[in-house]
């Protein structure tokens, strides 16, 4: 069984350099790049208009960003090391009027922070550190205290994921390590059998039943979160896998690679159902758009990809397939 996806729009002039990360909100998509400003484009109309430019707070560029499900809280991580928290002040009607709340104090989290991920409820922020630490901060509490800090085997944390209300955190590391932590108990839940080579992305399925991890091995490993066992292996990418994302129902996994190829995998059929890639330029980030948006506007589910091509491309499932 294969599925058909069409490129419905490409935004070419949002950023002057590589786009490193995307974060969808209910009404649009945030993007960050080697430039100092985060950009926001609406996804509620078919031409995806640019509606907001963040202030130039990240002098060295931005490589990670993450948003709460409602889009009110945004966290961005700059190349100079800074972690910034942005919020739409309560009571504001606009859905694109983020204000810089402050800079996260990352002391005690080991080394410097690289990847960050925010729980869907916007309360817990997970981050990986250069020395292998994986930490969690509570953004609801005054002063954004560090509430969890786990130590792994001293290997640079390249990627991180957190479940809806912060119950679990997963991390991927330079040495191929993949870990799942239980935040309620405050301890390591599973040290998964890694892929030997650098892990570049980890992603939980929406109900947190599965964890996907991938990187330089070109293979995508899918783990059962409850047991930590590897239950599926997807092979087919011919280059480093840079980014992973489950769709809203958990039926499909989207992956993007260094050679510009993206693939969609059916969890049920354990197979690749679509492959795209017009350029050989690295896809730094791939993200499904929230289903509600897609439903409101179109019949098929949508996703966005971005990378070295400096553009954001939107794909939609072709009707009738």
């Amino acid at each position: 069984m294969s599925k058909q996806y069409l490129t419905i729009h490409t935004l070419d002039d949002v950023h002057p350099t590589d786009i490193f990360h995307l974060a969808p909100t209910p009404t649009g998509i945030l993007s960050c790049s080697g430039a100092s400003s985060i950009q926001f484009n609406a996804t509620t109309t078919s031409d995806f208009p640019h509606v907001h430019t963040f202030p130039k707070e990240h002098i060295a560029g931005v490589h990670h960003m993450t948003a709460s499900a409602n889009g009110d809280t945004v966290v961005s991580k700059g190349f100079a090391g800074e972690v910034l928290i942005w919020k739409i002040p309560p009571g504001t009607e606009a859905t694109d009027d983020w204000v810089l709340e402050g800079k996260l104090t990352t002391a005690g989290s080991g080394g410097f922070i690289w990847a960050v991920a925010l729980s869907a409820d916007g309360r817990y922020l997970a981050g990986t550190a250069s020395d292998g630490h994986v930490s969690v901060w509570d953004l609801k509490e005054e002063g954004w205290p560090l509430v969890r800090s786990y130590f792994t085997k001293n290997s640079f944390g390249t990627s991180v994921a957190i479940t809806g209300e912060g119950e679990l955190v997963a991390s991927g590391h330079l040495n191929g390590g993949v870990y799942i932590f239980d935040n309620q108990k405050g301890k390591l839940w599973h040290s998964c059998q890694g892929l030997m080579l650098v892990i570049r992305s980890v992603a939980f399925s929406p109900a947190a039943k599965l964890l996907a991890a991938a990187g330089d091995a070109g293979i995508i490993a899918v783990y059962d979160v409850k047991t930590g066992d590897q239950v599926m292996t997807f092979t087919g990418h011919k280059a480093w896998v840079m980014s992973l994302d489950f769709n809203a129902t958990g039926e499909y996994l989207l992956s993007g690679a260094y050679d510009g190829r993206l693939k969609i995998w059916s969890i049920e059929n354990r197979a690749c159902v679509a492959t795209h890639g017009e350029t050989a330029k690295c896809l730094w980030c791939v993200r499904w758009l929230p289903k509600a948006v897609a439903k409101g506007q179109t019949r098929g589910e949508m996703f966005a990809v971005a990378g070295q091509a400096k553009s954001i491309s939107f794909y939609r499932e072709a009707s009738g397939s």
Partner: protein, 404 residues
Amino acid sequence: MSADLSLRLSNYAAPTNEANIPVAETEDSGSRPKAPPRRDSQYVLSRIEYIFESQVDALLAENKPLSVTLQIRRAVKPSGTQEDGHSKVKAIAPRFRKFEFPGKSEQEAWRYSVILRVLEIIHEALTEDMIFTKREIFYRDPALFNQQLVVDRTVDDLAFTFGVPRQLLNVTATAKGLAAGAFTIHRQDKSSVKGWLDREGTLISPIGENDTVEMPDVEWILVIEKEATFHSLAVSPFWETIKSRGIILTAKGYPDLSTRAFLRFLSSHAPHVPILGLADFDPDGIEIFSVYKHGSMALPHENAALKVPSLHYLGIDSAILSEQGNARQEQGLLQLSLRDRRRAMAMLRRAPFVEGGKEPGLRRELQVMLMLGVKAEIQVLEARDGGLVRWLKEALKGACSQNG
């Protein structure tokens, strides 16, 4: 140094021998033993600054002469033989010599001036993070120093006085830079240096005002980060091309002033010849390239005369990662160390790598390096079909056609 000649001699004694006498309980140490100072460049700087301050104090105090005391090296002679047959080295009491200004003779005043001038240059080298050769120091003030030997001896005496190796003064013995290829330099003294004669390369010594260069056949100039790459090209079959149509040059890492001046000399002589840089894909490689092109961020006053803005980055860069369309098979990639990461993070915050700066392409390379966590040395090309030479031929062809 122009000092008030009316200053009279007195018994002023400069602090002298902390370097060589074990630190005993000094007057201010009370019951706590003082940790011996760490012998790093900071230590040398503070010693030099102390000497400068003493001079100022002496100038301010009416009756104090200017003076500086050096510890003079003595040849160590074996004295007698121990029972086990090993020659025994007699412990020699350090010998100190104080030089005053104006001093007892013209000679002493001159020695004092030489020492202060050398200290001033070393101080500059240390604060600006530059490496000077002894030759470069001589050319700073040939009228004062009179001959090279004077500089050599003073530098070595200072290193000995501070109890540090000469490298800690940021002074090297000889020229660092090497050049080879289709050029001839005609020196003012009628001697000439022919770049094609020696595959090993010619040491780059300072270019005099009236020196000229002849390079009619040169089609490109290649600035190479590392000496090893320079030599591997010189011994390869590519040497035939280099000696007839190109120039290769290296400063063995971060460039000294002579090498930068030489490149600038070549570029102003033949502005139409493309100048290309070959460095590792790592933060140091990019920074070294940037020093040749834009100058050292620490030495803006020297940069105007030394920078080579037409220098073009040939590689290697992140493009080598995907050349074969299969990043998985890339051999020879190294993990970025934490030091590399911190360095790249810091570089992204300043010129010429800042947003809107002069090197947007290299800004991207630094960001990609951090994103991927990998670096690669030039040698990575050797593992490929045709090796470094084939890659270089292609790259030169591309770069020269762009320029032409």
